[in-house]
């Protein structure tokens, strides 16, 4: 009995819906609808047209500016075995830890040090050293160390006669150990006090490279 009543009620409601819709439409005069329809159409087109373009195709950038690797090669004066310090972080700022290696220096020896910078995100690796040399006036390397008796002096200069540090002279004295930090600054003040002698305190500028090696002198 109750079921019948509910069914009847449902039927009435279902009949009412089209009636209600027809009534609403009747109240909206056809003439008005003519004006509304094109607008509604524009509206729908604008929605659907922006759904079409759903491709996501990011371009992997050509990271030609990145420096991943620094190689400091020390050649003893008068011949002998070259010494290599290398710092390599092949994924840039990414999570993989850098690889750091440093050969042992000989005591009481004079070396010619030369720096090479690489971008190993590229294949084959890009050599950035020339870029730094070309912009020598706005770049300078600094060599800070805690090794007793180690002397590092600039052996190159930019167009204005100020040092860059791509080429250096390294003199060791007694057998000892310590750390060597090589820093590359750009847009620094090369004329500030002590900067030409390799003192970073007044240099300012932005750091591009700052790597530290554990060095043994034997």
């Amino acid at each position: 009995m109750a079921g019948d009543e509910i069914e009847q009620l449902n039927a009435t409601v279902l009949q009412q819906i089209p009636n209600f819709a027809a009534h609403t439409l009747k109240n909206l005069h056809m003439r008005q609808l003519h004006h509304l329809l094109p607008l509604a159409l524009v509206f729908l087109i604008s929605i659907s047209s922006c759904k079409k373009d759903e491709q996501l195709d990011p371009v992997i950038p050509n990271e030609e500016e990145v420096i991943t690797t620094l190689i400091y090669t020390l050649t003893p004066e008068g011949g002998g075995e070259t010494v290599v310090f290398s710092f390599s972080d092949s994924d840039g700022d990414g999570g993989a830890a850098p690889e750091i290696s440093a050969d042992t220096l000989h005591a009481n020896t004079t070396y010619t040090g030369s720096l090479q910078l690489l971008n190993e995100t590229q294949n084959p690796a890009d050599d950035i050293t020339g870029e730094i040399a070309a912009e020598g006036e706005s770049h300078q390397f600094f060599f800070e160390n805690t090794i007793a008796g180690l002397q590092i002096t600039y052996a190159d200069s930019d167009a204005s006669g100020n040092p860059i540090g791509l080429v250096t002279t390294v003199e060791t004295s007694d057998a000892t150990s310590g750390t060597l930090t090589i820093t590359l600054r750009h847009e620094l003040n090369k004329l500030a006090g002590g900067v030409a002698d390799g003192n970073m305190a007044n240099a300012g500028g932005e750091t591009d490279i700052e790597v530290t090696f554990d060095v043994e002198v034997q």
Binding site: E63, L70, E187, T207, D208
Partner: protein, 772 residues
């Protein structure tokens, strides 16, 4: 011959009218009363001016004015009062004419103190506005800095030119900004990305300090900022205004021109702004590379198609270049530590310059909105809206080998928004609003940078629906409603591992929001309002996927792709009212709990890179609580003297770790003394204001939460002079302001450049606004 016959009667009629007009000796009287729109009280000392007659009157203590000997014809009646939005009314006169003019008084302080409220108040949420007059007097300011005039609003800044509004401690993606009803869509995730909106295109800017936003899509966790150009006034003649300002600090210049006409076929308005300024100066040195250049345009068209059907179109374009302090750009942690030690930033020059070099930002934002409204009856109507936005952002850094001319960040974003909305004022004082919304955002990195992008490419598609009901019973208003959103987000990121490859993510979010509110007029002139709102915010792409070095703060930021949506419960309780129209008070307390609040947490890890070692920060989630209070008061001591005061208190707490929340605004107190003269010689509405803002030190922070302890509190004094005068057909508004009057040295906790430099010193700004 027939030609003469046809024009004859017309010619004759013309003679007759002229004759009659002169015979009448222009005998009509235009009179009326000026009332306060919100309180309904008559307003004394309002200036009333019949422009074509070049004559006027000042209202008496009952708000009455009267202008006699007015001829028949069409006139413009302008009505102004100190602290009010001046209005101009198109007035055809063909006999004695009486009108009632309602002025919007105290709009900044007590926006909707409609104690004797008309039916149909649409929201119970608290809001405070800035009128055109206040915007004009501060034409030199960007949107963020302008909004600091409202209690509870602060700004996160990146130098003096780039600022983001913060309402009740939330900003960026947690705060929705509506430009002419359209949610601003840009790169809002960056703390150094200012909203791309010209405040001079608005005739009113409102901050809704709400508990939840139901009517708009987006991620607001309570508050909304509305930038409204307003409807074009129904005046058939061409009107407009021209604004110009000069500021001494930064030698900034700005012009703004607005023209509008409600012509028979089409109502139109066009607004354009040009601004340029150079290096700002602290009391001791120039802030190198802090200039900016801006060019904005907005076009508004309104077309009544028939009595019950109208359509409008809005287009705006925002184009700017912002310099970033050269000395704030550091390479690694060693550089940052060195910069923190310095009195004067690196690269400071001893001369002024307009030039903008790297680092700088170049931003373009275009908006096109088409809207139509169809009134089914007077009580119910349908709105259809489409809006398209295009955002282009390029950020330039100091780079090697002439690469500084290529942006280091280059992003393009398209947003399409479509909405169908239905409103019905059914039954006695019941108001229903419901709508369906669609929004698609496509964000693309332009590969010209040669740098791994900071945030990935993505396409986000959102569908949302809402329904709200408002009911007014004679002393109370109730509001409740809900909203539901689905977001589908496809992301394509580039790996930070070698070899680089594309990593794809596909995520769907479903969120809901709800709001319930009630306001009740306890006694005459006092209203108590309570709101509770639930809202959600999906994690933003930078929080999920960013991975890399953030140069500005010398840290590596890592996103977490597994972050969940934030969920907020906010309650607000406000009391507003006045004591015999002399002392107006508005007090608001709020309490917000945000579950899964996303923030940057410093990690124990120090990551070694070729540039040195960097601390690692990771986006994490916690349970946060923000409590606060905003107080505003205005005391009219005498007809000449008044005092304004605003106080904002805020306390942010990380409940899970029992530590403070970072980047929460410091408490602040603003007091202004005003002296007002309705008439002084040929000048009207003369106002002198002496003000002081005290920003407290942010003590609610642990030393390990920042590189530096927050700066000391500071007092910032200001002075303002403004006056108006009628000059034949033009109305002139003149102002001079002095900011940081005593040229003090200070730094602000919410300025990201506080690590490097002081804030600007004294700045004197003079300007003129010519209305016709």
């Amino acid at each position: 011959m027939w030609k003469f016959n046809k024009s004859g009667p017309l010619f004759f009629a013309f003679i007759i009218t002229t004759f009659f007009a002169s015979a009448q000796h222009c005998q009509w009287k235009v009179s009326g009363v000026v009332k306060d729109e919100s309180t309904g009280q008559p307003m004394e000392f309002a200036n009333v001016y019949l422009r074509e007659m070049q004559t006027g009157d000042i209202t008496d203590s009952l708000g009455h004015f009267s202008i006699s000997s007015v001829c028949s014809g069409n006139y413009h009646l302008s009505v102004s009062h100190i602290g009010c939005e001046p209005i101009e009314i198109f007035l055809p006169v063909s006999g004695d004419t009486t009108i009632t003019v309602r002025l919007d008084h105290h709009s900044q302080l007590l926006n909707e103190v409609t104690i004797t409220r008309e039916a149909g108040k649409t929201t119970t949420q608290e809001n405070q506005s800035l009128s055109t007059q206040r915007i004009t007097e501060q034409a030199d300011k960007n949107l963020g800095n302008l909004l600091e005039n409202i209690s509870g609003v602060s700004t996160i800044r990146h130098g003096s030119g780039i600022s983001k509004p913060v309402v009740h401690g939330l900003y960026g993606n947690r705060l929705t900004i509506l430009n002419n009803g359209i949610a601003q869509s840009g790169q809002q995730w960056g703390t150094d990305h200012a909203p791309e909106i010209d405040p001079l295109s608005a005739n009113r800017i409102t901050v809704v300090k709400g508990a939840g936003v139901l009517e708009y899509p987006g991620n607001s966790l309570g508050s909304v900022i509305l930038i409204e150009p307003g409807k074009i006034p129904r005046d058939p003649h061409l009107h407009g205004n021209a604004r110009y300002f000069y500021e001494s600090n930064g030698r900034g210049n700005g012009i703004n021109l607005k023209l509008q006409q409600h012509a028979k076929l089409l109502a139109w308005r066009i607004t354009g702004t040009l601004k340029k300024s150079g290096d700002k100066r602290t009391p001791d040195y120039f802030l190198r590379n802090t200039g900016n250049e801006e060019a904005h345009l907005a076009v508004q068209l309104e077309k009544p198609i028939r009595d019950n059907w109208s359509a409008d179109l809005y287009f705006s374009t925002f184009n700017a270049r912002f310099g970033v302090l050269r000395g704030s750009h550091t390479g690694n942690l060693t550089d940052l530590e060195e910069a923190l030690q310095r009195e004067i930033p690196f690269y400071t020059e001893d001369h002024f310059s307009y030039s903008i070099d790297a680092p700088h930002q170049q931003v373009n934002h275009h908006l096109l909105k088409a809207h139509t409204q169809y009134r089914i009856t007077d009580q119910q109507w349908i709105d259809l809206t489409y809006a398209g936005q295009y955002n282009r952002r390029k950020e330039f850094d100091v780079r090697r080998n002439n690469r500084s001319e290529f942006p280091a960040l280059s992003l393009e974003q398209f947003t399409h928004f479509a909405e169908g909305r239905y409103e019905n004022n059914f039954a006695a004082n019941w108001k229903l609003k419901t709508g369906f919304q669609f929004q698609q955002t496509q964000n693309t990195n332009i590969p010209e940078t040669g740098i791994l992008p900071l945030i990935p490419d993505y396409i986000s598609t959102e569908y949302g629906a809402f329904l709200t009901l408002t009911k007014s019973v004679h002393r109370a208003t109730f509001e409740f409603g809900g909203r539901y959103d689905i977001e589908d987000r496809r992301v394509a990121a580039i790996s930070t591992t070698i070899p680089r490859k594309v990593i794809r993510y596909h995520k769907q979010y479903q969120t809901g929001g709800a709001l319930a509110g009630a306001s009740y007029a306890i006694v005459k002139n006092w209203e108590l309002t309570y709101n509770i709102g639930l809202a959600a915010r999906n994690p933003e792409v930078n929080e999920l996927y960013s991975n890399g070095l953030h140069q500005g703060v010398s840290g590596i930021e890592e996103g977490d792709p597994e972050l969940d949506s934030e969920f907020s419960v906010k309650q607000t309780l406000s009391l507003k009212g006045n004591i015999s129209e002399k002392l107006l008070i508005q007090a608001l307390v709020y309490h917000q709990q945000i579950a899964d609040y996303i923030y940057l947490q410093p990690q124990d890890e120090i990551r070694l890179t070729i540039r040195g070692a960097f601390p690692v920060f990771r986006y994490e989630q916690t349970d946060a609580r923000i409590t606060g209070m905003d107080l505003s008061a205005n005391w009219q001591i005498s007809p000449r003297f008044s005092i304004n005061a605003m106080y904002s208190y805020l306390h942010g707490h990380d409940r899970e770790n029992d530590i403070p929340l970072v980047y929460m605004p410091a408490n602040n107190l603003f007091v202004a003394l005003n002296y007002q003269l309705p008439k002084f010689g040929k000048f009207q509405n003369v106002e002198i204001q002496l003000n002081n803002r005290y920003v407290f030190k942010q003590n609610n922070l642990l030393p390990e939460q920042d590189f530096l302890t927050p700066p000391e509190g500071y007092h910032l004094a200001g002075l303002k002079l403004s006056a108006e005068r009628q000059w034949s057909k033009f109305r002139l508004q003149l102002f001079t302001r002095a900011a940081n009057l005593f040229n003090i040295r200070y730094r602000d906790y919410l300025n990201r450049q506080r690590y490097f430099a002081d804030e600007p010193g004294i700045n004197i700004i003079s300007g003129i606004n010519l209305s016709f």
